[in-house]
């Protein structure tokens, strides 16, 4: 009985906090989530610092050393122009990760604002916005992104714009749902009654409170977006040569597969590893934040 005394004197918020921390630690004991975090942190580090460690210039042509197998001089071999694949891979991390994060940020933030406005204002505006998202979502996203990039002209920027655009509707819907439920909250009603302008309510109450779930979904999305961006580049719609983008590197290496396997294999492996990292985190976050799933698991 004595042992329970300190528990009783502890404020409930603190108890809740400790419980939450305990649960996080429990989760992080799950090696998969930790592993995912390690992979993502490592790849972010590579993206940030990689170019400083790259032994060669990623676009410097050296035809005397073309298609060399992996060795001490070239840990991942060289491509058909004698460029060092390891250096290209390091530089490519910046492009692939950067694309994934920028596309998600762009599509997510624009979608978030539109969705919040749609849910908060309701009525005709909401109806129009929702029908528009229906329409955009009625085409499989990669197909729409392909068509858009083809129309705009294949380039890294256009591929990013297209992918951000096709990713937007799901954020619009999610944010709209959040805004809809928030606008029934007493403090929002009070602000309305007080005569606050819609924009002030959106900024002061809706945006900050609707944001956290969107952030989680955006994190879950990055892995898939990196894959989609790599696929567009692979198809020749994204990064253009000589840019060291992983998808494009697999594409240019594909015809050398039979004779020089390392050329297309390493960049593909890099995409796989980064995507696994983000998906592991997504998986773990899902477990952590979905109480239903948590109950089911225990």
């Amino acid at each position: 009985m004595k042992a329970s005394v300190p528990m009783k004197t502890m404020p409930p918020q603190l108890t809740a906090l400790f419980e939450a921390i305990g649960e996080w630690r429990q989760r992080f004991r799950s090696p998969l989530l930790l592993f995912g975090a390690v992979i993502v942190c490592f790849s972010v580090l590579v993206a940030l610092l990689g170019p400083f460690f790259a032994p060669y210039d990623p676009i410097a042509v050296d035809v005397t050393n073309r298609l060399q197998p992996p060795s001490f001089q070239h840990p991942m071999g060289t491509d058909e122009l004698g460029r060092d694949l390891f250096s290209r891979l390091l530089y490519g991390a910046r492009i692939s990760l950067g694309m994934g994060i920028m596309i998600t940020t762009l599509g997510g933030s624009v979608g978030f604002v539109i969705g919040c406005i749609s849910g908060f204002l309701g009525g005709v505006v909401d109806n129009i916005i929702m029908r528009l998202t229906d329409i955009v979502m009625s085409v499989p996203s990669l197909v729409l992104a392909m068509a858009l990039t083809a129309a705009l002209g294949p380039s890294l920027t256009n591929a990013m714009l297209a992918l951000a655009f096709v990713g937007m509707p799901s954020y619009v819907r999610l944010a709209r749902g959040q805004a809809l439920s928030l606008s029934c909250k007493p403090y929002v009603q009070a602000a309305k009654a007080y005569g606050a302008s819609p924009w002030a309510i959106l900024r002061g109450h809706i945006f900050p409170n609707a944001l956290p779930p969107i952030l989680v979904v955006a994190t879950l999305d990055v892995g898939a977006v990196i894959l989609a961006a790599a696929a567009l580049s692979f198809l020749g719609l994204g990064a253009q040569p000589p840019v060291a983008e992983w998808g494009a590197m697999v594409a240019s290496g594909r015809s050398y597969l039979a004779t020089h396997w390392w050329y297309p294999v390493f960049p593909g492996l890099a995409i796989l590893v980064v995507a696994v990292g983000f998906n592991l985190i997504g998986d773990g976050l899902n477990d952590l934040l979905d109480p239903a799933g948590r109950a089911r698991k225990s």
Binding site: D134, S138, L152, A230, A231, V250, R254, A275, N279
Partner: protein, 338 residues
């Protein structure tokens, strides 16, 4: 009541399809080059280009052009492909069966393995099968399909020499008629076993590349709903009657557990269609994916618009039928939605 829902869904379908034409129309307007110049070619004189422009009505106001476009689409006229010079609809129809065969085969593989692995990982929850399936799903979601296709080609074609790596069938055996366009079925109809074997061998690698992404995901879905069902009262009852665990799972749990799975298939079919574009390009598979990539390369905008429209149409239709199917197999929802 059910009729009201169906009617409502069909009306919504109309709105979405109209919206789709708007999307494809906007895409065609985004193309920075002059379509008339594209059709005429680089060496045509300005008069010829202007003639084509007038002929296509490109000088008309945008709303007039859009109205004409909708009218054409409604009549099944998707325009003439710049690259092939044939009607886009006929081109799409010619390439569609190959994609259908590929996606159906991939679906079949993914569903079979997905259900088997899902049930196993639910029964042996937290065991090594379960952990393996979890990892498998993760890697499946994270593998670039074009890269997986490369590896499979390298292994099964390059190293082992077991399977072909391009095309749909050995061209020498392709001398029978194609009433359905699905070579597996056509070869059987023509009683050509050699052709059937060749078509099947050509299908394995592309279908596996496409299915791989899905298997783990399917397994996870099945696992979740089997676990859900295993906790139900009827399972306890069945067990207390002394039925074997195998019978309980196969006869009682599985039919119920597959309901929610069916509704998810529609979503996955969209992923399958886009995956097919990438995979087809790897295996020189003469389907819609190869067609659209060639169209993109030559800025063949009627073909790009037609393809986008058709994909959207199929996707919407599949999702609609999945919804209706779910309504049909789940009577509880019929009352709930109205």
């Amino acid at each position: 009541m059910a009729f009201a829902i169906v009617r409502q869904r069909l009306m919504l379908l109309g709105v979405v399809l109209l919206g789709l034409t708007m999307v494809t129309f906007v895409i065609s307007r985004l193309i920075p080059t002059d379509p008339a110049r594209l059709i005429a070619g680089d060496y045509a004189s300005e008069e010829v280009v202007e003639g084509i422009r007038v002929e296509l009505g490109l000088n008309d106001p945008i709303p007039v052009q859009y109205g004409r476009y909708i009218g054409d689409v409604a009549q099944g006229d998707l325009g003439i492909s710049i690259r092939t010079g044939r009607p886009v609809l006929r081109d799409l129809a010619a390439y569609f069966p190959a994609t259908l065969e590929l996606t159906l085969a991939a679906m079949l593989i993914a569903i079979t393995f997905g259900i088997a692995l899902g049930v196993l990982s639910a029964i042996y929850k937290d065991g090594w099968v379960d952990q393996f399936v979890r990892l498998f799903a993760l890697v499946g979601f994270s593998t670039p399909s074009f890269w997986l296709a490369l590896l499979l080609i390298y292994l099964f074609y390059g190293q082992l020499g077991l399977l072909p790596a391009g095309g749909r069938i050995d061209p020498l055996l392709d001398d029978f008629s194609h009433p359905t366009g699905l070579l597996l079925i056509d070869s059987l109809l023509a009683l050509r076993l050699d052709a059937f074997v060749s078509a099947a061998a050509h299908l394995i690698l592309p279908a596996m590349s496409l299915a791989f992404i899905m298997i783990g995901g399917f397994a996870r879905l099945v696992r979740a709903s089997v676990l859900e069902e295993l906790r139900r009262d009827y399972v306890r009852t069945a067990r207390s009657f002394g039925l074997t665990e195998r019978r309980v799972v196969v006869r009682h749990v599985l039919p119920n557990a597959l309901n929610p799975f069916v509704t998810q298939l529609g979503v996955y079919f969209g992923a399958m269609l886009t995956g097919a574009v990438v995979v087809e390009s790897m295996y020189a598979w003469p389907g819609l994916g190869s067609y659209i990539l060639q169209a993109i390369e030559s800025l063949d905008f009627p073909a790009i618009m037609g393809f986008t429209l058709m994909t959207g149409f199929i996707y919407v239709l599949i999702n609609l039928s999945v919804d209706l199917l779910y309504l049909a197999i789940n009577p509880e929802l019929r009352g709930a939605r109205t």
